[in-house]
């Protein structure tokens, strides 16, 4: 044991990772503890408290459920591997999260070691529903410790829980903890150590309560007819009500003395239920909700929160993006100038550093977006946002939880697609992913800006703004329409519904928010970043080779014209010309075709590719590019770019699926090639038909 584990204490994080990804590589017997609990029970806080920085986030094989594994030092000095299970309400799975939680607890997953002990995290302020999962885990007959979390909240609400009587009733150790303050974590670890060697109580909840469930009113059983599933659940809750009455009566004895207002048929209602549940508590969270999901103020607050998220993404990130890409470009030029040979220089400057640059420009925006998402999620507002927006989205077959991912799509489709993991129903999640790229991402803005500014400037600022707005609206309309069609045809599956807990608000924790933002941003960097980078390299090679024959080298008026000729001679230029007959009916010439090919790396590459093809250089001299676009003519003297052509290209950018990194992320998130390929085909087909229709009808009506 000493070899591997002592190493971890002094090694840096990445080496520690290697240590627990292969726990048995040196025959080390590592003890594995699994953290289970309801969503919003504070599991992650306790996980962080146990493992500190020694943790790693990956995926369970074959599903997009996050697998969080960490290392923790037990009081006796040995290392414990801690697995943070996804939140589950029940072990009878209804969502992928619950499926995984159940499989890990039962030791059914080959990619995860089976648990030596289980820590069930229970929210003391929401004892009844949390104990439902416990009632199922207890029956698995494994060493179990209850971490009674949020004791402070329970006390503040006047429903303190007596841990000792809970322990007596459950027959397993119960340790009170306040996760976010780190209280009780050492005690929890000691209890786990003891539970390992203690005999496991062998009992079945159902046996202990079967007598009680028979006492259900006879007339009711006659009317409803109790099936085994209902009997099982009801017996568990009957047992829970009994346990809760016991351990809250002692702790909060005084409250039970208050005279409850018993309803007219109170005789048939459990006295505890009446006492506690008659009125929802007037605590802070409820007061916040009476504002944040108020029918007027709620919507205004929602618009404000989403608006500031947007403003931060665009205005806060902009200067950082500019500075970063300027910096990268500078280094690229500097590095290239020290290199021998044109090809090597160009590879470094226009291939590698340009590629890195086009990845880097997304980072500030993505990081800010993930920061907002993490804060919204950890504070509890995310489920309120879903509550507010569900009506709107359920009409087109989506889910309230689709809203935030779709909104993220206005920055970039990739974080949006990653954020769809919170949607439980597979059909609504897939539908959300499939329409997400219609949202106008920030990479489209340079394209829109160039074309609208160049070809619609004559119509005035108001018209230009109107066109921009219309492009955004068009994306939303198509997303809604396509979602509706898919949910009626391909993805008919009934939704999992909208049974959504509205958890107590809490102040977001820096450690959770920071970690979430970091792990998501680095996931973006590795998944999208590598794709964008590789495509940039490939595009560079395609437009650099083959070189113009030497004897033609001297005929060019200037460097720009030479570069344009090179571009037309290169593979990219030839490819553009090859596809020209296919895109001619849309109003595109081969140069636009080359631009659209370039856009597969990232949509904004369209602009720089056009600039190269037109020989205006890759610098940000958009005026030059605009002028040469306006002047560009076919050999027969017709103008290449008319407002109609510009509109057709704009429509193409609204509808087409070009961004290959999005395709890669969809593959990752849906676990196969089926959906990403489908997405690529259907969106581009839609774009082709749309542009064909627009250009053909348009040129007949307005004569081109």
């Amino acid at each position: 044991m000493a070899g591997c584990c002592d190493g971890c204490t002094i090694l840096k994080k990445d080496q520690a990772k290697g240590c627990h990804t292969a726990p048995d590589s040196r025959g080390v017997q590592r003890f594995t503890v699994v953290l289970a609990g309801n969503p919003n029970s504070g599991k992650t806080t306790i996980f962080n408290g146990l493992t500190g920085l020694r943790q790693k986030v990956a995926n369970y094989a074959g599903v997009t459920v996050e697998k969080k594994v960490g290392l923790c030092r037990s009081p006796d000095g040995s290392w414990i591997q801690v697995i943070d299970l996804p939140g589950a309400y029940s072990l009878v799975s209804q969502s992928p999260d619950e499926q995984v939680a159940m499989e890990v607890l039962r030791g059914m997953r080959s990619d995860t070691p089976s648990a030596d002990a289980i820590i069930a995290v229970v929210d003391a302020s929401n004892l009844q529903r949390n104990l439902y999962l416990v009632s199922q885990i207890i029956e698995m007959g494994q060493p179990l410790v209850i971490a009674l979390n949020m004791m402070d909240v329970a006390e503040r609400r006047g429903v303190p829980v007596d841990a000792e009587s809970l322990e007596r009733r459950l027959g397993v150790p119960v340790v009170p903890v306040v996760g976010h303050k780190g209280y009780g974590i050492p005690e929890l670890l000691r209890a786990v150590g003891r539970a390992r060697i203690a005999p496991i109580p062998d009992w079945s909840i159902l046996e202990t309560v079967s007598v009680a469930s028979l006492e259900a009113p006879v007339e009711r059983r006659q009317v409803v007819g109790i099936d085994p599933m209902q009997a099982d659940i009801e017996s568990r809750y009957r047992w829970i009500e009994d346990v809760v009455t016991d351990c809250q009566a002692i702790a909060g004895g005084q409250r039970l003395m208050e005279s409850p207002r018993v309803p007219s048929d109170g005789a048939r209602v459990h006295p505890f239920t009446v006492e506690r549940m008659y009125h929802p508590p007037r605590h802070l969270s409820e007061r916040i909700d009476s504002f944040l999901i108020h029918r007027v103020w709620g919507l205004i607050a929602f618009a404000f929160i989403m608006g500031s998220m947007f403003a931060a993404m665009f205005w806060l990130a902009k200067p950082i993006q500019l500075a970063l890409s300027g910096f990268i470009g500078m280094i690229g030029n500097g590095a290239a100038s020290h290199l021998p040979g044109d090809a090597l220089q160009s590879l470094v400057r226009d291939g590698i550093f340009a590629g890195v640059g086009s990845v880097i420009v997304f980072i500030p925006q993505i990081a800010i977006l993930f920061l907002f998402l993490a804060v919204l999620e950890d504070s509890g507002y995310l489920s309120r946002a879903a509550f507010l927006m569900d009506r709107l989205l359920s009409r087109v077959g989506l889910h309230g939880k689709s809203f935030i991912p779709l909104l993220s799509g206005f920055a970039c489709a990739i974080p949006g697609i990653m954020a769809t993991r919170t949607i439980e129903g597979r059909s609504s999640r897939l539908a959300t992913i499939l329409v997400l790229p219609f949202m106008t991402c920030s990479a489209r803005l340079p394209v829109y800006g160039l074309l609208v500014g160049t070809f619609f400037a004559a119509y005035g600022t108001l018209v230009q703004a109107g066109i921009m707005l219309a492009l955004y609206a068009l994306g939303i309309v198509f997303a809604a329409g396509v979602a509706l069609v898919f949910r009626r045809t391909l993805l008919k599956g009934k939704d999992s519904g909208f049974i959504l807990e509205l958890p107590t608000y809490k102040v977001p924790q820096l450690s959770i928010v920071g970690r979430q933002m970091w792990s998501n941003s680095s996931k973006f960097l590795t998944q999208a970043g590598t794709t964008i980078f590789l495509i940039c390299l490939a595009l560079w090679a395609m437009s650099y080779y083959p070189r113009l024959p030497q004897d033609q080298g001297g005929h060019w008026a200037n460097e720009g014209a030479r570069a344009a000729a090179q571009q037309s001679y290169s593979f990219a230029g030839r490819l553009g010309k090859t596809i020209e007959p296919g895109i001619q009916p849309l109003g595109f010439d081969w140069k636009i075709g080359v631009g659209c090919i370039g856009a597969f790396a990232a949509r904004e590459v369209f602009v720089s590719t056009l600039a190269i093809v037109h020989g205006t250089g890759t610098d940000d001299r958009e005026d030059n590019l605009a002028a040469s676009l306006r002047a560009d003519r076919y050999p027969d003297g017709r103008k290449v770019w008319t407002p109609l052509v510009a509109a057709s290209v704009l429509l193409w950018f609204v509808l087409a699926m070009q961004c290959l990194s999005t395709v890669m992320v969809v593959r990752q998130e849906t676990g196969g090639w089926r959906w990403p390929v489908f997405m690529l085909v259907y969106m581009n087909a839609l774009a082709y038909v749309g542009c064909l229709f627009l250009y053909q009808v348009g040129s007949r009506v307005w004569g081109g």
């Binding site: 929401n126 529903r129 209902q230 239920t273 549940m277 999901i293 507010l388 569900d390 049974i499």
Partner: protein, 87 residues
């Protein structure tokens, strides 16, 4: 805010299981808190926590409405769907 006692839960098996598991069973008392600004879903309070359900899901839960002790109006005490039981 309307209070009601859960009488029974109906609907498709998956939905019914989830509703029962979330605590809509054993004649528990449920408080209807509010509707979302756009009319759907609805928010409920039961067993010490808040949960939201779409109307079509809430319709699967049959309840008896508890008349408020100080209520001026007389409310029927018969069983009806949780949505219909409101206002």
């Amino acid at each position: 805010m309307t209070l009601a006692v859960v009488e029974s839960v109906h609907g498709a098996s998956d939905l019914r299981r989830r509703l029962l598991e979330m605590g809509f069973c054993n004649r528990t008392i449920v408080t209807a808190i509010r509707r979302a600004p756009l009319g759907d879903p609805l928010e409920f309070f039961l067993r010490g926590y808040y949960v939201s359900l779409r109307k079509e899901e809430a319709r699967c839960i049959l309840v008896s409405v508890i008349p408020p002790p100080t209520s001026r109006e007389e409310k029927a005490n018969g069983a009806g769907p949780i949505v219909g039981g409101e206002e």
